[in-house]
C-alpha cells in the first residue's frame, strides 16, 4: 500500500501527536513511514501541518509533492483549505466541523467547507464525539480514527500506538482515548470502501 496524508490545522489541536500516532501504528504494521512537521514559531497560535507518508516500499522524501496526497485531514476547516493543492484529484478530505472557541476561524464554517465542494469528503463534528467519549481533549483522536480508515493498518496497531503514548496516564485515560479513536473509525467507514478499492490494498 501507499498512502500520503496531509494533516493541517493550528497550534494546540494535537496535529503533531495525531501524525505521530499514525506513524507509530504504521511501523507496528511493518510499513515504512516518513513524516515532516512544522514546529517552533508556528505553534504559537500559528499554522501547523504535518505530512505523513506510509508505504510498503521505501519512501524517499518526507515532503509530499503537490497533487500526491490521498487524504487531507483538515483538523481546522479553513486551514485545511490552504493545503488542497497537495491533494490528488481522486483524494478524500476528512474535515473537522467543530472548533474550541479560542480557535474560531476568521470566516464562517459554511464558507470554509465550500473550499471542499466537489470533493469526496467526510465531515466530523469531532468535539461532540470527543466529549461523548469522556475526553473533551481527544478531538484529534476522533479525527485520527476517521482517517485510519484510509489506511490498511488494523485497529490493533493503532491501539498499541495509543498505549505507547497515553499508557502512562492510567487506564481510564487510555480507555477514553480508545473510545474516541473507535468512534472516529466508525465515522470514517465510507472512505475505507472508496480508497481500499484503489491504491490501498
Amino acid at each position: 500500500m501507499k498512502l500520503d496524508m496531509v494533516i493541517a490545522g493550528v497550534g494546540g489541536q494535537g496535529i503533531l501527536s495525531t501524525g505521530s500516532i499514525l506513524a507509530v501504528a504504521a511501523i507496528e504494521h511493518g510499513l515504512n513511514v516518513k513524516t515532516v512537521e512544522t514546529r517552533g514559531m508556528a505553534q504559537r497560535g500559528g499554522r501547523v501541518y504535518m505530512h505523513v507518508r506510509i508505504s510498503d516500499i521505501p519512501v524517499h522524501s518526507a515532503l509530499i509533492p503537490m497533487g500526491h496526497a490521498h487524504c487531507l485531514l483538515a483538523m481546522h476547516p479553513e486551514e485545511g483549505g490552504t493545503h488542497l493543492l497537495y491533494l490528488r484529484g481522486d483524494g478524500c478530505v476528512i474535515v473537522n466541523t467543530e472548533l474550541p472557541p479560542d480557535m474560531m476561524h476568521h470566516g464562517d464554517l459554511a464558507a470554509a467547507l465550500a473550499h471542499y465542494n466537489g470533493m469526496a469528503r467526510t465531515e466530523v463534528p469531532a468535539m461532540t464525539h470527543a466529549r461523548a467519549s469522556g475526553s473533551p481533549r481527544s478531538a484529534n483522536l476522533v479525527m485520527l480514527g476517521a482517517a485510519s480508515r484510509t489506511t490498511s493498518i488494523p485497529s490493533a496497531c493503532f491501539e498499541i500506538a495509543l498505549q505507547q503514548r497515553f499508557g502512562a496516564k492510567g487506564d481510564a485515560v487510555l480507555a477514553s482515548c480508545y473510545k474516541a479513536f473507535h468512534t472516529g473509525r466508525e465515522l470514517g467507514a465510507p472512505q475505507a470502501k472508496r480508497l481500499n478499492g484503489g491504491d490501498l490494498t
Binding site: 501524525g19 513511514v33 512537521e37 514559531m41 524517499h60 518526507a62 503537490m66 479553513e78 490552504t82
Partner: protein, 529 residues
C-alpha cells in the same frame, strides 16, 4: 532491535548515545532544540550517566564539549545554524588543536527561515575550519551518520559537523538502533602542547591541520555516504546532496527516469566523483539545500566547454528558500508545473500568548517611550520580538542575540537619545552581559529593560541561566543598585512602571529595569511565586 519513530534531531541524539556518548551540551534554538531535550529525557536513564545540560550560550557549549573530548571522552554539541556563529571561535580553533575523544557538532540549518533571521549554510564553516561535514538524506541515515561521525572524529582527530536542515531535524522516520557502545575512559592528554595555540605551537598545529586536506578528500571520495549511480539517460546528470537527494530519488522513481546521479552526504566535496559525472553527461543539474556551494564548484569544473550547469544560480531552482519536491521535479523535467493558488485565508502570524506578561511589559515600555519622540528602542531575539510584526508593528529591532544592548550604546554614542534596549532574561545571559559591562565601563546613558520570565520561552520553556541571579549579575557588572529597578508587569502597576522607565530614561548613566513575571507556560515557576 525494534524500529523506533524518531525526529531527525532525536536520531542524532540516539546515535550519539549508542556511540558511547559521555557529555552533551547545547543552547536551545529552533530547529535544533529536540536533540538535547531527548538526551535530558533519556541519557541518564539508559546510558550509565551521560552528562547532558543546556549552557548559557553556544560558545560555552562547544568549549565544554571540547574539554570533554580533550579528556578522551565522546562529546556532542547541538545548536541552530546562527548559534554556530556564536561558537565559531571555538569551532575553528578546536580544528587546529585537534580532538581526542570524538567531538560532533549538530548544526540545524533553517532554509526558508521558518524560525530564524537568515538562511546561512553551515557547510561554509566546515570549509573554513577544514573539517569533515556529514549531511544525511533522511532520519535513519542521520542516526547511522552520527555513529560514523564519532568514529571519524577520533580517526582524523578533528571535530565533525552533522548538518541537518529543518526538513530532517523536524522529520520523523523509523530508526533501528544498534547495540550501545561503552563510553571511553577519561584520560589526561599525553601531549598537552596540542592544546596551546600560542604562535610557537600554533604554527605547527596549523600545518598539521592543512596537511590533512588530502586525507579528508580521500575519505569523502571513498565514503559510503557519497555514491555514484549510473543511468542510461545521460542527457542530464544530477548532483544531489543531503535531503535534496530524497526529492531527486522520488522524482526519478515516480517518472521512471534513469539519469546518472551523484549523491553527496560527506564533505569536502568529492572532486573525483564530480569529474566522473561531468565527463559523462550533456547537462548537469545540482540540487542542494542551502547555498549553491557544490554548484559553484561544478560551474568552475565545467567552465571551459564542459556540460551546461543547472541549479540555483541560473534560475532552474529558486535562488532562496528551502527546496520542495515540486521545485526539484520542475528542474529535472525542465518544465514548470502550475502552482494552484490556495483559497485566500487570512494569515495566522505567531503572536504572544493570551495573558503573556510580555504584553504588559511592552505596554509600559512603549508608553514611556512616547514621552521621548526622538528616542530609539532596540529589541532582541525572543517571544517579545513578535509584536514587531504587523498588525502590532511596535518600534524596535531584532538582529542577533544580545545586539539590543550594544547597538543601543553605539546609537547613543552617535548622538541619539534616549536609547532603550529590550531583552529577555535568557538572551541577556547568552550574549547581553558583555555589552552591559561596556555600558558600565563607558558610563553610557542606556536603559536596559530585561523581561524576566525565567525561561527560554520561545523554544519550549527551558530554565534560563539567569534564574534567581539577575540582580546579582547586573550589580556585579557594575550597574549602581539605585538603578537596578525590579518591577512587576501587572495592569495595576502600569502607571508606576511607566514612571520608573521614564525616570531611568532621564538618568545620565547605565540603568536596568527588570520586569519579572513567569512565562504562563512555566507552571512550576508560577507555583513557586
Amino acid at each position: 532491535m525494534n524500529t523506533v519513530l524518531l525526529l531527525g534531531n532525536e536520531a542524532v541524539a540516539r546515535g550519539a548515545l549508542d556511540a558511547g556518548l559521555s557529555c552533551a551540551y547545547g543552547y536551545p534554538g529552533t530547529p535544533a532544540t529536540e536533540a538535547i531535550e531527548y538526551l535530558l529525557n533519556t541519557a541518564t536513564v539508559n546510558n550509565d550517566g551521560a552528562h547532558c545540560e543546556w549552557t548559557a550560550n553556544e560558545k560555552s557549549a562547544f568549549e565544554a564539549a571540547a574539554g570533554a573530548s580533550m579528556a578522551g571522552r565522546r562529546a556532542l554539541v547541538c545548536m541552530k545554524h546562527v548559534g554556530v556563529n556564536v561558537a565559531a571561535d571555538a569551532l575553528v580553533n578546536t580544528a587546529v588543536t585537534g580532538v581526542r575523544g570524538g567531538l560532533v557538532l549538530l548544526a540545524a540549518d533553517d532554509p526558508s527561515m521558518h524560525s530564524s533571521q537568515n538562511e546561512q549554510d553551515t557547510r561554509y564553516y566546515a570549509k573554513l575550519a577544514q573539517i569533515p561535514l556529514l549531511e544525511p538524506i533522511d532520519v535513519q541515515q542521520a542516526y547511522a551518520m552520527t555513529i560514523e561521525a564519532f568514529d571519524m572524529s577520533e580517526r582524523m582527530e578533528l571535530p565533525v559537523i552533522i548538518r541537518l536542515p529543518t526538513r530532517i531535524s523536524h522529520a520523523r522516520g523509523g530508526v533501528v538502533p544498534r547495540e550501545s557502545q561503552a563510553q571511553n575512559a577519561a584520560t589526561r592528554p599525553p601531549d598537552p602542547t596540542r592544546f596551546i595555540l600560542v604562535p610557537f605551537y600554533a604554527r605547527k598545529h596549523w600545518a598539521r591541520l592543512t596537511a590533512k586536506s588530502s586525507e579528508l578528500l580521500a575519505a569523502s571520495e571513498q565514503s559510503p555516504f557519497n555514491s555514484y549511480r549510473p543511468g542510461t539517460d545521460t542527457s542530464l546528470g544530477i548532483v544531489a546532496a543531503g535531503v535534496a537527494a530524497s526529492y531527486v530519488n522520488d522524482c526519478l522513481a515516480d517518472r521512471d527516469m534513469d539519469h546518472p546521479v551523484l549523491q553527496i552526504g560527506h564533505y569536502p566535496i568529492p572532486d573525483r566523483l564530480l569529474l566522473e559525472l561531468t565527463a559523462t553527461c550533456d547537462r548537469l543539474l545540482v540540487v542542494e539545500e542551502g547555498a549553491p556551494i557544490i554548484e559553484t564548484v561544478v560551474r568552475h569544473l565545467c567552465a571551459n566547454g564542459g556540460p551546461e550547469v543547472l541549479g540555483r544560480l541560473n534560475g532552474s531552482l529558486p535562488r532562496n528558500g528551502e527546496l520542495t519536491p515540486d521545485d526539484v521535479a520542475d528542474a529535472v523535467t525542465g518544465t514548470r508545473q502550475p502552482r494552484p493558488l490556495p483559497p485566500a485565508v487570512p494569515g495566522r502570524p505567531p503572536t504572544l500568548c493570551k495573558g503573556c506578561p510580555h504584553i504588559r511589559s511592552l505596554a509600559f515600555v512603549q508608553k514611556a517611550m512616547l514621552g521621548f519622540p526622538n528616542g530609539q528602542v532596540f529589541s532582541d531575539i525572543g517571544c517579545y520580538a513578535l509584536p514587531l510584526i504587523p498588525p502590532e508593528s511596535q518600534p524596535g529591532t531584532c538582529i542577533n542575540m544580545g545586539a539590543s544592548i550594544s547597538m543601543a550604546k553605539g546609537c547613543r554614542d552617535a548622538g541619539i537619545q534616549p536609547v532603550l534596549a529590550i531583552i529577555g532574561d535568557s538572551t541577556f545571559t547568552h550574549s547581553g552581559m558583555p555589552p552591559l559591562l561596556d555600558i558600565v565601563c563607558a558610563n553610557a546613558a542606556v536603559t536596559v529593560v530585561i523581561l524576566d520570565n525565567g525561561t527560554v520561552a520561545m523554544t519550549g520553556g527551558q530554565v534560563s541561566s539567569s534564574r534567581n541571579r539577575l540582580e546579582a549579575i547586573c550589580g556585579g557588572l557594575g550597574v549602581s543598585p539605585a538603578h537596578i529597578r525590579v518591577v512587576q508587569p501587572s495592569e495595576a502597576a502600569h502607571a508606576a512602571n511607566v514612571a520608573i522607565v521614564t525616570e531611568e530614561l532621564m538618568f545620565d548613566g547605565p540603568s536596568v529595569v527588570i520586569s519579572r513575571d513567569p512565562c504562563i507556560h512555566d507552571v512550576p515557576a508560577k507555583g513557586a511565586q
